[in-house]
């Protein structure tokens, strides 16, 4: 098991040329600049491969689906070879007890020297019975696998925030990974799913430099989550000009105006879609004419309709947004003031009459 990453790649049939290409691509994706590509290559050539365990909890597998479609086929090849795919529910060869034994082997043999990647999250209600892996609640497998891990990667919005299964009222009491694992560094890579290039870049960074990329206060790698979709959106000039799509089938929609009024969550969503785009840089939701739904944000399922700019608030019985509630309250206060003024005037006139 003391093979280097490079050995593994060569064994898997990746040419040196392709390998170097991958290094420069990834260095660029990470914002490291071309001069760091050789550093990356050197690290991969000399460092022994670090095993990665990939667990699945409550999820829809969209993270795995995205990951294996990483834009550059090369990237996915390389990454998939780098990962120890001995254990990944979706794509591993083994099954049953044999598979479960692999988790144990990695946890005990590679103590403190493997990465735990988690897709999905553990439900805690009914002792975790809503998600059973190998006859045991997922939360137990998660805790066990994390016990000796060097670091934990929370793939996707499920592991990072809770996602749809944790949306109100959250019957299974699904919680994000950091609510269960407290003693390990956790890197959150939110998105539903996260952008494949972001996933491969994050894991390459960790494996080659053996350290965690710089994280923001919410535990997300700064290099990919420090800006909003809106900050880099190509429709932004229309936003600044005040040109909006007003209805899905209007002329403005055809002209590609800003989708703000159609509920685009770009201004409140931290992700790289407007820079990296999807499917090999082909497009991303806004380019396809639909607003961003904010899938990488905490609690995006509970932020009301995907098609409203202002969130509806449910605490008032009727669902209304802050401005409707505010205007109503102001109207009520205004009416109260008018009534009060009228009574004051009448009373005052009367008392004046009494005095005369």
């Amino acid at each position: 098991m003391d093979e280097t990453f490079y050995d593994v790649l060569r064994r898997q049939g990746v040419s040196r040329r392709s390998f170097m290409k991958f290094c420069s691509l990834t260095a660029a994706a990470l914002g490291l600049g071309p001069q760091l590509a050789p550093t990356l290559a050197h690290a991969l050539e000399t460092k022994p491969r670090i095993p990665v365990l990939w667990l699945h909890g409550l999820e829809c597998t969209c993270c795995s689906e995205a990951f294996i479609r990483s834009a550059h086929p090369l990237a996915s090849d390389v990454i998939l070879s780098m990962l120890s795919l001995d254990y990944d529910d979706t794509i591993m060869a083994s099954a049953g007890h044999q598979a479960e034994a692999i988790v144990e082997e990695i946890v005990t043999k590679h103590k403190g020297n493997y990465i735990l990647a988690v897709e999905g999250n553990p439900p805690l209600n009914e002792d975790g019975m809503y998600c059973i892996i190998g006859g045991k609640p997922f939360v137990e497998q998660l805790k066990y696998a994390a016990s000796n891990a060097k670091a934990v990667i929370s793939w996707g919005s499920c592991a990072s925030w809770g996602c749809v299964q944790a949306a109100k009222p959250n019957p299974t009491q699904a919680v994000p990974v950091h609510k269960v694992i407290h003693d390990k560094p956790i890197i959150r890579v939110p998105g539903c799913p996260p952008i494949p290039e972001v996933m491969t870049a994050v894991i390459t960074y960790i494996l080659t430099f053996e350290r965690i990329p710089e994280l923001d206060r919410q535990g997300r790698p700064k290099m990919f989550y420090s800006q909003r979709i809106h900050d880099k959106c190509y429709r932004r000039p229309h936003f600044d000009a005040g040109q909006f799509v007003e209805a899905w089938d209007d002329e403005n929609a055809r002209k590609g105006y800003c989708l703000y009024k159609m509920g685009c969550k770009g201004p409140t969503t931290y992700n790289s879609c407007s820079t990296t785009r999807w499917n090999g840089g082909v497009s991303f939701p806004i380019q396809a004419g639909h607003g961003c739904i904010g899938c990488s944000e905490d609690g995006f399922w509970d932020n009301g309709s995907f098609y409203d700019r202002l969130t509806n608030i449910k605490q008032f019985g009727v669902e209304e947004n802050a401005d409707v509630i505010g205007a109503t309250a102001a109207g009520v206060v205004g009416a109260a003031i008018a009534a009060h003024a009228a009574v004051s005037a009448i009373k005052n006139a009367r008392s004046k009459g009494d005095n005369e």
Binding site: R228, D240, G242, D298, G299, A322, A329, S351
Partner: protein
């Protein structure tokens, strides 16, 4: 009602507050120049912020033509940010003045809520506003209900708006800027996400509008029916009294 014209303000040089024969309290200098200037700058900033803020959330109808011909949302947002900065700088100056200015400048920052008299006056004024009491009492500074609304609705409300506003502004200026480091980085996690933060910023904005309505109505009503000057005071700084007697907060004044 005593009509303002039939009262002669005693000379400001009167030896003792109530000892000048007719029992009228002489005019007292209450709002110093910086407070008066701030009051109006702040009022204009709030008006600009409320209007521009509303249009940021619900933009006006689309403009036709090329994007390069217009910058409407840009100007609306610029108005909001510029007015926001004016309000913040004004609030900072006003807070400083609360400590270096006269005693009245501090009242809305530190209402005298620990005195029984304050609450007795509050109760009295409350009864007056619900028509259970005919006449208001006299105050050099503010009546206690005004103080309470200014302290809780305005000061706390505007503090909330400044913090959330800077946090939202820091989203645009980006990581590494002081707005982001000092505000955005810790305020967004409190609200869970940026969308929720926007929602609360909107709700609090409406509460500021409601404060303005109450504040202006209270001022108009007390100007007409109360026993002391209101409008001329915020313009000239001097409080004059329309009926004889010692103001309630004279000992603090």
């Amino acid at each position: 009602m005593v009509i303002a014209t039939d009262f002669d303000p005693p000379p400001p040089t009167a030896p003792k507050p109530n000892g000048n024969g007719n029992g009228f309290q002489p005019a007292i200098y209450v709002y110093e120049f910086p407070v008066r200037i701030w009051h109006f700058v702040n009022a204009f900033a709030i008006a600009a912020l409320l209007v521009s803020g509303y249009f940021i959330g619900s933009p006006p109808p689309t403009l036709s033509g090329e994007a390069s011909d217009h910058f409407l949302m840009g100007y609306i947002r610029f108005t909001h940010f510029a007015a926001g900065y004016i309000l913040i700088i004004g609030m900072a100056a006003r807070t400083y003045w609360a400590f270096v200015g006269n005693k009245h400048a501090l009242e809305i920052f530190a209402p005298p809520i620990l005195t029984a008299k304050f609450w007795d006056n509050t109760w009295h004024e409350f009864k007056r506003y619900v028509f259970l009491e005919k006449e208001g009492r006299k105050y050099v500074c503010h009546n206690p209900i005004a103080v309470l609304t200014m302290h809780f609705m305005f000061l706390w409300g505007i503090t909330f708006m400044i913090f959330t506003g800077l946090a939202l502004y820091g989203e645009g200026t980006g990581m590494g800027t002081w707005q982001h480091t000092l505000f955005t980085s810790w305020i967004i996690p409190i609200f869970g996400n940026s969308q929720n933060l926007h929602t609360f910023h909107h709700l609090a904005a409406w509460s500021i509008l409601i404060f303005v309505m109450i504040h202006v109505y209270g001022a108009v009503r007390d100007e007409l029916l109360g026993h002391q000057s209101i409008f001329s005071t915020i313009v000239s700084g001097y409080r004059t009294f329309k009926s004889p007697g010692k103001p309630e907060d004279m000992d603090r004044a």
